[in-house]
């Protein structure tokens, strides 16, 4: 088990290193940030001076090594645009994003898992049909459109929730719903098909034949096995939600790291983009690692098989 965890950690470090090289390379391909930091009418000499101040005159590999050596010590440098340490900006905005993502995921789970399971148990019933339509809608509606629709209905017409900004729990409802809708649909679908698959298996039939009550069969024996693919999906969904937060945060003026990232990319704020990507990649890798560990808890065979390989 320990060896497995260590190996996975080592792999994670390699993944992160790879991410940093790719992001660094891509960013520097997009062009010179000094042109965007200075006014349009700025003179060539001002541009040169700023380039030197920002350390952009050094060869690319020197810049990369400098970035890497600082990054491992937790220093991502000053944001070009804000002149504040990149990590400080992330520290200010990350809680809002985590809050939104977690709320979106929690909402998705709370609605989707019971809905999916019920739909599987009452296959081809009206409930199943309603769930299927819901899933279709959830997956078909872009966050952007759904977000504006929610604002129109629940903020402007009904006046139940604020239209934008982060002002306490009430303001979390609309963005979390918009963000969670897509995941909700996918999780419900997975829960339904996973449950159906398990319910068709021999041991379930055996359990039923042995006279166990349906409730016990369903929740004690079937659910645990149906949960395994769900755990994987939840891990992945968290990453997808972090990505989706970029759009949701923009629509709802949510002060999170997604908006910060978009802004940083458009202004070619190298240090800030690198810091955000590094942070999000780490988060994503760690969550997947955690999910894999939960996996082994749910199904001990998994570690066994992997350590044999």
């Amino acid at each position: 088990m320990l060896a497995y965890v260590l190996r996975r950690l080592l792999q994670s470090v390699l993944v992160l290193l790879g991410v940093s090289v790719i992001v660094f390379g891509l960013l520097h391909l997009t062009g010179d940030p000094t042109r965007l930091l200075l006014p349009l009418e700025a003179r060539e000499e001002d541009v040169r001076q700023l380039r030197a101040l920002l350390g952009l005159d050094d060869p690319l590999w020197v810049q990369y090594l400098r970035f890497l050596s600082r990054a491992v010590r937790g220093d991502f440098g000053l944001s070009f645009k804000h002149q504040v340490p990149a990590l400080t900006l992330i520290r200010q905005t990350l809680p809002a994003t985590l809050e939104l993502t977690a709320a979106g995921l929690a909402l998705a789970l709370v609605v989707a898992v019971p809905a999916g399971i019920l739909a599987a148990l009452r296959r081809n019933s009206l409930l199943d049909a309603v769930c299927s339509v819901g899933v279709l809608l959830g997956q078909a509606m872009p966050v952007y459109w759904l977000g504006l629709l929610l604002i129109l209905v629940f903020a402007v017409w009904l006046g139940w929730f604020p239209a934008a900004g982060r002002d306490g729990p009430a303001s979390l409802v609309l963005p979390a719903t918009a963000l969670g809708a897509f995941s909700m649909a996918r999780i419900a679908r997975m829960a339904r098909s996973g449950m159906l698959e398990v319910l068709a298996q021999d041991y379930v039939r055996t359990a039923r034949a042995a006279g166990l009550r349906t409730f016990v069969v369903t929740y004690k024996y079937a659910l645990k096995n149906a949960a395994i693919p769900l755990v994987t999906i939840v891990g992945l969904e968290f990453g997808i939600l972090l990505g989706g937060a970029v759009i949701t945060e923009t629509i709802f003026a949510w002060p999170g790291v997604g908006r910060l990232a978009v802004d940083a990319i458009f202004s070619r704020d190298y240090p800030l983009v690198q810091a955000i990507v590094a942070m999000l990649a780490t988060l994503f890798v760690l969550i997947n690692l955690a999910m894999d560990l939960v996996y082994t808890y749910l199904d001990p065979r998994i570690v066994f098989v992997r350590s044999k390989q």
Partner: protein, 504 residues
């Protein structure tokens, strides 16, 4: 199975706890508290680190400048009570006595000298270095008198003084640049309270301000990037004043009873630069004139912007001193356009026009309309949309634009030279045009210390530019705001929002 429920419950509990960690509903707005929603957050509250208009608007509530502009955009005293020309290259400025910064530090000549010199500190990355490049040094005459020594005679000095934001020297020295940005201290009509990045900036009235007590007690600046959400925030009373309402949304706003629309022709002009320096057909003045005659600018304004925009006759809007209303517009005249093209031997001209997407109100649509009319009138024009602003800027600054490029222009100085030199002088970063006669007139006008003569020079210059047609002369943008009816407020022609001009 219990374990599964336990683990699921744990995961959920973690999520719910995190979700519950949100701040409490922050403010039950007082009667004279207001919220202003713009598209972006302030980049800096260290006002000397920015040239961004939205950022400057927010900072203007916290900091004062030496001179300022009233609602009619006329120069009026602020921290300077008077200014006069001592000799051709020396300006003497008397400072307002008895003014203190929000931290109690007195405002005096030392602060003026400090604030100027800070911008030019070698390790200080201020984008304002270009604003004051004609100034050689600041001399302290006495605690309430300073002299600016300029490198060349500079009639734009009073206009530059409207951009000289004053910082507290002792405070900045004590806390450093980073903290001065996060906790700004100025002499302005509002004191800084709180800044949550990308969420809100709160300021409260400075009742000790030299201009008197502001009617607004507390103001919150909120960045709401998405237009739909910004309009919704106004409709629901979450915001009292919103900016950049596009013409096609006016109906939505006028349908809401508690809200009104305010409009003002802006200092920002939108033009279509013709890349004369590329040579070929575009180097021929007749071709450029033909292009101007082939576009019905007024028709486009009426149809695409629903009349929200005013044509410009040359390269300056009426809000800028130096504008000459007697210069004629190009008339829409396809026949004349064809004659000019025939005379130039360019009857089979094919052009490409580049435009951004989402930079200015309906920019892409306007570009398409312009190209459509050119094509209709015998100049086949393709549109190339460059959506990413960084790439767009690069094409302009590298002088690698397409044949025609859309551009918008307004500098907060409102100094006439800043509309012509950066856009049209030979070799300037933005300029895709070169005409030595125009260059000479610009240089003459920006050094002319006699106001009357200077005005004549600009008139001459603008006429020359009009005739040589380096642009398709576009229009003055209309700034459109949505305002809650409880506010007494009308907009300014320099895109600024002054909290002190808001009443109830």
């Amino acid at each position: 199975m219990r374990r599964i429920f336990q683990s699921l419950a744990t995961i959920l509990a973690v999520f719910v706890t995190m979700a519950g960690a949100a701040p409490d509903p922050a403010w039950a707005a007082g009667e004279r508290d207001i919220t202003v929603a713009q598209g972006i957050d302030a980049e800096f509250l260290d006002v000397q680190m920015t040239n961004n208009i939205v950022t400057l608007i927010i900072n203007t509530s916290i900091y004062d400048t030496l001179l300022t502009r009233d609602k009619q955009l006329q120069l009026v005293p602020a921290l300077a009570t008077s200014h006069r020309l001592v000799s051709e290259k020396v300006w003497e400025v008397k400072l307002r006595p008895g003014v203190t910064f929000h931290n109690g530090e007195p405002f005096d000549a030392t602060a003026v000298k400090f604030s100027f010199e800070r911008i030019y500190r070698a390790d200080f990355k201020s984008p304002q270095k270009g604003w004051f490049s004609t100034i050689e040094r600041v001399e302290i005459v006495d605690p309430h008198t300073v002299r600016f020594h300029t490198k060349v005679p500079d009639p734009a000095m009073p206009a530059r003084m409207t951009l000289m934001y004053q910082l507290a020297p002792k405070y900045v020295a004590q806390v450093g640049d980073v903290q001065a940005n996060l906790k700004p201290v100025g002499t302005g009509p509002f004191k800084f309270v709180e800044w949550t990045k990308n969420d809100r900036i709160i300021v409260e009235a400075n009742d000790a301000h030299w201009s008197g007590k502001p009617a607004v007690r507390r103001a919150t600046w909120r960045p709401i990037p998405e237009l739909g959400a910004r309009i919704a925030a106004l409709q629901t009373g979450q915001a009292d004043l919103i900016v950049n309402v596009p013409p096609d949304q006016l109906q939505t706003l006028t349908a809401t009873r508690s809200v009104r629309v305010e409009k003002m022709p802006s200092c920002r002009i939108i033009y279509f630069g013709i890349a004369q320096i590329k040579g070929g057909a575009l180097a021929d003045r007749r071709v450029r004139q033909a292009i101007n005659h082939a576009v019905d600018v007024q028709g486009i304004l009426d149809s695409v912007l629903q009349g929200n925009g005013k044509r410009i006759n040359s390269s300056m809007p009426p809000n800028v001193w130096g504008y000459d209303p007697s210069i004629p517009f190009y008339d829409y005249n396809p026949k004349k356009a064809k004659e000019l093209l025939t005379a130039a031997g360019q009857t089979n001209l094919q052009l490409t026009l580049q435009a951004p997407n989402g930079r200015w109100a309906m920019d892409k649509d306007i570009a398409q309309a312009v190209a459509g009319q050119l094509t209709e009138n015998g100049i086949k024009t393709n549109v190339k949309i460059i959506g990413e602003w960084g790439s767009y800027v690069r094409s302009v600054l590298d002088h690698k634009t397409e044949d025609i490029f859309m551009n918008g222009w307004c500098l907060p100085s409102l100094e006439p030279d800043h509309w012509v030199t950066p856009n049209l002088h030979t070799g300037e970063p933005v300029s895709q045009y070169s005409n030595l006669e125009v260059d000479k007139l610009m240089e003459q006008a920006r050094a002319e210390m006699n106001t009357e003569k200077r005005k004549q020079l600009y008139s001459q210059l603008l006429r020359l530019i009009r005739d040589d047609a380096p642009w398709i002369f576009g229009y003055q943008q209309m700034d459109i705001y949505g305002v809650n009816n409880r506010l007494k407020w009308t907009p300014r022609g320099d895109e600024s929002i002054r909290l002190t001009e808001i009443g109830f």
